[in-house]
């Protein structure tokens, strides 16, 4: 799913709104147009509402992840509990810088997670290498060079609300996924 970052989706309406510069509203994932049956709806609802995320905090975004899990923003409301082992978690929240020395560990963690797994790249370091894009010799320039990423959350570090917004967008994507019936 990694592709050349330079190309952007064609811009929407012209003119810069006061707060929202115009970027085409994010398409809801590759299978946005698929008709989803009832069995899928129930299964997707179950998967969406118990997203156990792996406690994987490498750098500053890890602190925002902790604060999102704490009392004020409370990820537990969404059924998202942190798990210590990749075996029991289905969401890999890459929060922080991934250096080359850490790269194969991230791949191994991703492969250890049981199948319906999702990845959120949180923060500029995970999206594109962020502040260390230009001059650092040992930072992986974006975690999608290593593992397929479902949702990118911009911010350095993104606010806990931005993280919850990213998780809710991931939940919408999960609701679209088609598991049973003939593949379209």
């Amino acid at each position: 799913m990694s592709h050349d970052p330079a190309h952007g989706t064609p811009p929407g309406k012209g003119g810069a709104g006061a707060s929202a510069p115009f970027v085409a509203s994010a398409a809801l994932g590759p299978e946005a147009h698929v008709m989803v049956g009832n069995a899928d709806l129930f299964v997707n609802w179950a998967r969406k509402s118990s997203l156990w995320y792996l406690l994987f905090a490498t750098a500053c975004c890890g602190i925002e992840l902790m604060q999102a899990g704490a009392s004020r923003y409370d990820l537990d409301r969404f059924g998202a509990v942190f798990r210590a082992t990749p075996r029991q978690s289905d969401l890999l929240l890459v929060a922080g810088t991934i250096t080359h020395k850490m790269a194969d560990r991230v791949k191994r963690l991703y492969e250890q997670m049981p199948e319906p797994k999702y990845v959120i790249a949180m923060g500029s370091c995970a999206n594109t290498g962020g502040p260390f894009y230009k001059d650092s010799y040992c930072v992986v320039k974006g975690v999608d060079l290593l593992i397929p990423v479902d949702v990118y959350i911009p911010g350095c570090p993104p606010r806990p609300e931005a993280l919850i917004d990213g998780i809710m967008k991931l939940q919408k994507i999960i609701m679209q996924r088609k598991n049973y019936g003939a593949k379209a």
Partner: protein, 189 residues
């Protein structure tokens, strides 16, 4: 391990545990203690100076590339071309918020104060490409072509104007020369 220490251990264990549990009980029972902000419905009001996503007011921007130079990460890419009236016309202005580190140095250094932080922070997207904000709607090539045409027209008009001046100079030259002959002619009488 004397008997006194043994009993003291037990008593201390029970009292400290009870003290701790009294505090957690107070939190458990008292609903006022709850500080949760249910995000999608209740939102934290963002203070004025919050450094959210960047937004460049394209009209007042003078394409002076100060922000491009000061950014430690080079996430602002700007193309501009010199317009007919010698001022720079913005062809494309993109900020890659996937790489930006929200340090605010560019906002401080921007002379016309067109680049400002908005209070937006919700831009979770599915594709990495969507993290690049384009502030000029039109495609860069079209703008360049249009500006090039304008410059060409201006040049042609300038040519015509110059030619006209030239000819007028010639004629005025000729007229002045003729006047001089006349003037020279007359004083000899």
């Amino acid at each position: 391990m004397g008997l006194k220490e043994y009993m003291n251990d037990i008593v201390e264990a029970v009292t400290t545990t009870a003290k701790g549990m009294r505090i957690t009980a107070r939190y458990g029972v008292d609903p006022k203690e709850e500080v949760t902000l249910q995000y999608p419905e209740e939102r934290w009001e963002i203070p004025a100076g919050y450094r959210g996503f960047l937004n460049n007011d394209v009209k007042t921007c003078t394409a002076c590339t100060m922000c491009v130079k000061v950014c430690p990460v080079d996430c602002i890419s700007l193309e501009s071309v010199r317009g007919a009236d010698k001022k720079m016309v913005l062809a494309s202005y993109d900020i890659n918020i996937g790489r930006c580190m929200y340090c605010g140095l560019c906002v401080e250094v921007c002379p016309p104060k067109s680049l400002k932080h908005t209070s937006g922070y919700e831009m979770a997207s599915v594709a990495r490409g969507e993290l690049i904000l384009h502030f000029i709607a039109e495609d860069a090539a079209e703008i360049k072509a249009r500006v090039a045409r304008q410059v060409a027209e201006a040049a042609v008009k300038a040519e015509a104007a110059k030619a006209a001046d030239l000819s007028s100079d010639l004629s005025s030259e000729a007229a002045r020369a003729a006047k001089e002959e006349a003037a020279k002619g007359e004083p000899k009488k």
